[in-house]
């Protein structure tokens, strides 16, 4: 893994733990064994690093999901897969969703970071809307509404689970998603 990717990985851990202001170039540099000035070579400013972080996180998140249509072809239920991906982010990493945290503190972020964070939510709502639209009982409007509600519920369930330090809360809170069509 390149130093650049190592930097992003280290930064992701810090941000998902305590937000955008919870990492410094020096910390990252120390962690991967270079000097803080070298971090500026890869990312001119902290905002550049933050924006790239959110961008990659979004792309990876969606790439790991696959398209809703493909999942159905594979005999899987898109919403279940989606829920599972959120749950893994919480239980395996023991951390909040990167963009969930950034989204919460959006008004305190540099513009380019804010923009990439917004993109995460746009793309996820789009994905979920497609997923819900596969059920023909849903109108287009209903699909969008359900998408927004599902995303909100999952981000919130993560947040509350973290706050209470109890991952079973995520299960309880998100159970409703599986019952509803």
């Amino acid at each position: 893994m390149s130093k650049k990717q190592q930097l992003l990985k280290a930064a992701e851990d810090k941000v998902r733990t305590g937000g955008y202001n919870n990492f410094s170039f020096r910390e990252l540099a120390d962690e991967i064994g270079i000097k803080s000035s070298s971090v500026h070579y890869h990312f001119p400013t902290k905002a550049d690093l933050g924006a790239e972080l959110a961008r990659q996180y979004t792309d990876n998140f969606l790439a790991n999901l696959g398209s809703p249509e493909d999942l159905v072809v594979q005999g899987k239920k898109p919403i279940e897969v989606y829920l599972q991906q959120f749950q893994c982010a919480l239980t395996e990493d023991q951390k909040m969703c990167l963009c969930g945290l950034l989204g919460a503190e959006t008004d305190g972020l540099p513009d380019k970071v804010k923009l990439q964070t917004q993109r995460f939510f746009e793309q996820n709502i789009q994905w979920l809307t497609q997923a819900y639209a596969l059920d023909e009982r849903n109108t287009e409007q209903q699909a969008t509404n359900r998408a927004v509600a599902a995303l909100s519920l999952l981000e919130g369930a993560m947040l509350v689970s973290k706050a209470m330090n109890d991952n079973s809360i995520f299960i309880t809170a998100s159970a409703g998603l599986l019952e509803a069509r």
Copy 2:
């Protein structure tokens, strides 16, 4: 309003905008016209200020709600009132829930702040559980589950609304709460 309360108010704005690391004693002091050393008089450490902030926020939040039973007596639906209180926090202040943000970054917080943040969620789940238990069709377990889900949905709806900079998302996401019993 005492300087101490002014400090807490200024800190609340900062934290609700960008998290716990988004304010400094100097900023707060400048804003209310005293010196940073004087802030240390009121709050020995930053953690003390943060903990007191979360404590007061929780107490005010619950006090403004009143008890679920009383609301019913007044002919109001507790869940509707509860939702309304969240919505006001978002639309009037144009800011995220204080403890929602702190909860998301809980692992990066001093212990005493973490503890007070946790208390917010405990008390809110308790309140919602009581509210749902007033409908006798709900078992005790169902009431708790619904409480956790409702809290998660509302915190998440706030978060997504902030991230997308669109308060109508909150309405869309939380609409389901009013239909369900």
